[in-house]
């Protein structure tokens, strides 16, 4: 019925499109000296915020002072994945000199839409995400930093602190790309170190407590993967570990401070700095920059957590530690 109506709708849309197009032909001139760096992130989260902050700090050190010769456009999807394409298109229209994309989905959307160099950050598996073909050879206009956790080193640390642990319970959210990669890595290195891995799948932060509780009954120690969901709900896992007097190993320094027993950590501040260095090189016009993987080798321990979980920290581990927290920060 009413094909007229359809034709009218089509004409209206065509008119809007034409208006937009005509308007777009008169391009505004851009000031020459100021560099524009767009930053797109999926969500706010202490680790991701640290990346942003230290990236700006590093660029300031290289002579790009905010408000003088560099301008930042920051966009945050507040956790809504379907906003990624919207944000990516919007930033693509800003004629930025570089776009920094934090987290995997954001990096993919920005890489698809961008018309300028893209620097990704905090992407666990850039090759698996299809961003770059290999870590050693950057794409012409896409490069960045990866925050793959050093799972092998982390498992070695667990073995050192809990020499008798056989079954290791791992909390992770199968809905996150980083955890999918994480669980694969953990399973790869576990047998050589004598661990049997028991998986505990979590789909929201409210699942962390019951799943951790369930795992605790069947395992000798708890661990988690680089997982936004589990880290957001880590307090309940810590509670379970303290109740059951068993160790909870984590993977980042922030969580150790909050009561995780121990971690070999990627420093997100350092990741931000490294991203900043790459952005600096991109702004100077460099292309084909290889991906930088942040290899965390810093050990963080929490003495109070050890006491509550009934674990004795070996002297040699204490000596190697970068930082030992005495108290649990609430």
């Amino acid at each position: 019925m009413k094909p007229k109506r359809i034709v009218v709708t089509l004409l209206i849309i065509a008119a809007i499109v034409a208006a937009v197009w005509l308007a777009g032909r008169t391009k505004t001139a851009k000031p020459v000296e100021t560099k524009t760096v767009a930053i797109a992130t999926l969500m706010s989260h202490p680790a991701l915020d640290a990346v942003q902050e230290n990236l700006k700090k590093e660029l300031a050190k290289e002579g790009y002072i905010e408000g003088q010769n560099i301008r930042y456009l920051v966009r945050n999807a507040s956790g809504q994945v379907q906003l990624a394409a919207n944000i990516a298109s919007e930033l693509a229209s800003q004629n930025a000199d570089a776009v920094v994309a934090i987290t995997t989905p954001m990096a993919q959307a920005v890489a698809k839409a961008a018309r300028c160099p893209v620097v990704f950050a905090a992407v666990t598996d850039p090759v698996g995400a299809g961003l770059v073909k290999s870590l050693d050879h950057g794409e012409e206009n896409i490069t960045g930093t990866s925050d793959a956790w050093p799972y092998e080193d982390q498992l070695k640390l667990i073995r050192q602190i809990s020499p008798n642990a056989k079954r290791l319970g791992v909390l992770y959210n199968p809905g996150e790309a980083a955890s999918q990669y994480g669980i694969k890595e953990i399973k790869k290195f576990a047998p050589a170190l004598g661990f049997e891995i028991i998986e505990g799948a979590v789909s929201s932060t409210t699942d962390v407590y019951p799943v951790a509780h369930n795992l605790a009954g069947r395992t000798d120690a708890l661990f988690l993967s680089s997982d936004n969901t589990v880290i957001a709900g880590v307090a309940s896992a810590i509670k379970v570990a303290v109740e059951r007097k068993m160790p909870l190993y984590v993977g980042d320094s922030g969580t150790v401070e909050k009561g995780g027993l121990a971690a070999v950590s990627v420093g997100y501040a350092e990741l931000g700095t490294k991203t900043g260095v790459i952005v600096g090189r991109v702004l100077k016009g460099e292309k084909n920059i290889p991906t930088v993987v942040a290899h965390g080798d810093e050990i963080y321990l929490n003495k109070k957590a050890a006491e509550l979980m009934g674990v004795t920290l070996p002297e040699e581990v204490l000596k190697r530690a970068t930082k030992v927290y005495e108290e649990i920060k609430e």
Binding site: I13, Q82, A85, S93, A111, K112
Partner: protein, 302 residues
């Protein structure tokens, strides 16, 4: 003329997500089924498409596969409601949960990058780059034609005898039965079609954004509801038939909603304020047309 960019983005994203809004509106308004399934069938469609693409299945087949699996999800919701007398909402929620696990299984990961896929959007983007600079005329024209043709097709179907029966089965099952219409089967077919459309929306979105992710359905339901409401409030109803009104309002609402969101994004709002800002904008539009009356505005479904 940079301030016009959000309109450009809004048109693109709005026409992509219009399919999900149409899916919700058809189920809600014509089948009288508040269907939550789209929150699952949209990412499921994207997942099926991405998984098939990864296994080198030609894209038309992958698109069809996505539609088919989305349709299956929809018919499952209808069957749960019809056969097990399950509450409409609960049936939808269950199927969303199933879709989530199924998407993970099918993709074998939570996220598949489609950056190497050379889709129709990349061809169009190339034209846009050469001819219209910052604005995506070719992309928008393509999506607009797709939406118009699709809507015209749906309209014909809904206005046919079969479509009438479908609508009667939705709005008054008792009456439909007295006319000898198999209301249960009609509901299954109806929801299969709407969720197939939602799955197609997911495919378009995945192509446009360059990835499929299990999390991409989150919030789609709210977005579709808001878009539908805006469209229905703003579209003059007088000379349109019910089914045409619902379809056009869904497309119009989807575009307007995405334009509003794009302006909110462009303002660079803090993440804490972004959702509130979108909600306030939607409220503003609704308040503008508060005085409207008509079948759809007096407490909804009759």
């Amino acid at each position: 003329m940079n301030w016009l960019v959000p309109i450009d983005i809004g048109l693109t994203m709005g026409l992509i997500l219009a399919w999900a809004v149409i899916a919700l509106a058809l189920a809600f308004r014509l089948l009288h089924f508040p269907d939550l399934t789209i929150e699952g069938s949209l990412p499921l469609g994207a997942a099926v498409f991405a998984a098939l693409y990864k296994h080198d299945v030609p894209w038309p087949l992958a698109v069809f596969g996505a539609f088919a699996v989305g349709a299956l999800a929809g018919s499952l919701t209808a069957l749960l409601h019809v056969k097990f007398r399950m509450n409409k909402f609960l049936a939808g929620i269950l199927v969303v949960a199933i879709s989530y696990s199924l998407s993970l299984r099918l993709m074998g990961a939570s996220n598949i990058g489609l950056l190497q896929l050379h889709s129709i959007f990349d061809t169009l983007e190339q034209w846009d780059k050469n001819f219209s600079g910052d604005f995506h005329v070719a992309t928008i024209a393509f999506l607009a034609v797709l939406a118009t043709v699709g809507a015209a097709f749906l309209l014909r179907g809904l206005s046919s005898l079969y479509g009438m029966r479908l609508r009667v089965a939705g709005s008054n099952p008792e009456y439909a039965r007295s006319l000898g219409i198999n209301a249960l089967r009609k509901l299954v077919i109806g929801l299969a079609i709407t969720n197939g459309l939602a799955a197609l929306s997911g495919v378009l979105l995945a192509m446009k954004q360059g990835f499929a992710d299990v999390g991409m359905g989150q919030g789609v339901l709210i977005l579709a509801l808001a878009a539908m409401t805006i469209g229905e409030r703003l579209l003059p109803q007088r000379r349109l038939s019910m089914q045409a009104f619902v379809l056009v309002a869904a497309i119009l609402g989807s575009i307007l909603y995405q334009i509003l969101v794009s302006y909110a994004v462009r303002a660079g709002l803090a993440p804490t304020d972004l959702k509130l800002a979108t909600a306030v904008l939607v409220l503003f539009v609704i308040a503008l047309r508060f005085s409207r009356n008509g079948e759809l505005f007096e407490g909804g479904i009759k």
